[in-house]
Symmetry: C2
Subunit: 340 residues, 2 copies
């Protein structure tokens, strides 16, 4: 098997990353949130090669959603610290994280006595208190955060601060209303931070990345900004689409064409993906059927770029991403942080 040199040589479906768009996104974000003001979330990309580029523009501390993401980042030596922004009760995985604590600072989110117990049992030394700031998911109530921090310190763990994800606000359309709601949400987080102590007040995401100048938040946990998807694109953010799933037309009539990229290579929870100029008819396991103006309908063998509706699960479905400049393949990046 010889390495593909141009996009037209790729076996499909293939994840491709446009380096020009990616680097533009990284630069734009680093201007708004330079250095330690951004704690890039690797769950969106699951790729140490991409994370290295985030280090290259100045970010040192990363957010992760799974223990395996942290272990992979530590193993690759990318970044200086890792925040598991998620709760886990898994003794084995916590012990695996504890075993590499001498290599990098690893902080685990806790939001209950049970998750503190699990961290303590595994020998985890550093935690952050996860606070509910309005999203009905994880996070301790604001007025109980100080108590959990005290309990953790009483057991000898270092409490580095608080985090709180305002995920329920990412898609609010009106900027003024959104800022007002983010402010309310972060007032709760600051209140918890006063009780908890420590130096970290971590929050936010791609949808609120530019709303934390005055919220007291020390760093923003954005991830999707680097590659983007159609849902975030609808917000009019200053980030370009950098990741596509490439398909090959395998069948065609005068009315429709079919490519060999389907719902096993595209995150579908935000609905159908997008093909420029096309109407998507439906997406099957290994196919997308679509139509377009008949003069533009691609022919059997042509390559077609598909823009995912949700980047995070899309990346998690691929083993490899191909880094490209225009149609030239520059590198092969392992999507090496998949799984749990």
């Amino acid at each position: 098997m010889k390495d593909p040199r141009v996009v037209s040589e790729l076996s499909t479906p293939a994840a491709v990353i446009d380096l020009t768009a990616l680097d533009s996104n990284l630069t734009t974000m680093a201007q708004v949130l330079p250095g330690d003001r951004l704690r890039p979330h690797v769950k969106a990309t699951k790729c140490t090669a991409l994370a290295r580029r985030q280090v290259a523009v100045g970010h040192r501390h990363f957010t992760c959603a799974t223990p395996r993401e942290i272990l992979g980042m530590v193993r690759a030596g990318v970044g200086e610290s890792y925040l598991l922004a998620n709760e886990t009760l898994d003794d084995e995985r916590l012990r695996a994280l504890a075993a590499v604590q001498h290599e990098a600072l690893i902080m685990i989110a806790i939001d209950s006595t049970e998750t503190l117990d699990a961290a303590d049992r595994a020998g985890i030394g550093n935690v952050v208190i996860d606070v509910n700031v309005g999203l009905p998911r994880c996070g301790i109530p604001v007025d109980d955060a100080g108590r959990l921090a005290d309990d953790a310190r009483a057991r000898g763990l270092t409490v580095h601060g608080v985090m709180g994800y305002e995920g329920h606000l990412m898609m609010v359309g009106d900027a003024t209303e959104k800022q007002r709601k983010v402010d309310e949400s972060m007032a709760l987080l600051r209140q918890a931070a006063r009780d908890v102590g420590g130096t970290i007040i971590s929050a936010g995401g791609t949808g609120t990345f530019n709303m934390h100048a005055h919220t007291g938040v020390t760093d923003v946990q954005a991830g999707s900004y680097s590659l983007m998807d159609t849902q975030y694109a609808a917000l009019g953010l200053p980030f370009a689409q950098a990741m596509f799933v490439l398909g090959t037309v395998i069948s065609r009539t005068k009315d429709w064409a079919v490519i060999d990229a389907g719902l096993k290579s595209l995150g579908m929870d935000h609905g159908n993906p997008h093909i420029e100029g096309a109407t998507i008819w439906f997406v099957s396991d290994e196919h997308i059927t679509f139509s377009m103006k008949s003069s533009e309908l691609p022919r059997v063998g042509d390559k077609v770029r598909v823009t995912p509706a949700h980047i995070d699960p899309t990346m998690a479905m691929h083993e490899v991403a191909w880094a490209i400049n225009d149609d030239t393949i520059v590198d092969r990046w392992g999507i090496d942080l998949r799984g749990w």
Copy 2:
């Protein structure tokens, strides 16, 4: 890392397969479509260990959606022949299939001169003509099928017959209307079969498995029946849910609980998954937030079974499935046919 012995010891999210339900499904199907009347579709399960159980109840010939599924089946020595029920223009993958043709009969679906050219170029010896029977996806028009078969034979390829997937009829609710439409669709396939020749007339799926007694179809390409999902369950088929994604409650309030299984471990194109007795609030990358009667809301650390809405992409998201009897873990099955 010691092997888990019971379900409560599993790291989550985890794919679990209830062997009692699976074996019941395999037996039920083998009674309706014994032996070569079923050509099990491995795309639904992507697991050679499960395919071995289909061989054990009498099926010898398999359907695949990707070259890698065929290569994995050949390598594992499961089954006697493989039908790639999908078109491909990928020279490299076709050559890889051609290279193992001496180990097992491998047949490739073609529906155009371009896909015939690709098969011929790679040295593929055996093809089936894929016929459009009403689903706007792949498949040659009925009245052109004989011409393509003649072209293939003129180049020295063996044409084994026809296939046509009536995928647009799987979810028709009324049984009488469904049978009528299946009959119409299969009349088209028989017409093509007369022009094409060969011995195979392959069609169908889990949603129409019991509608081919008099259609002239030689074998049915069902796959999802073995594990099932909520969408197929809505049809009232005689198959039980055999696959679940196991999650652990990682956070809980009096109003909701959160498990560590989310949309990266569940196919979401058919909508939210199901948790018995629960109302699903929303599914995030690594979480499901749900409520239920407060006396039944599970506690932090409890395991919860989630039923996927679509089995095929769900299986493709996991590296491993745990075969269980009640709460006892019997085996660890690699989901070893993933990718393309």
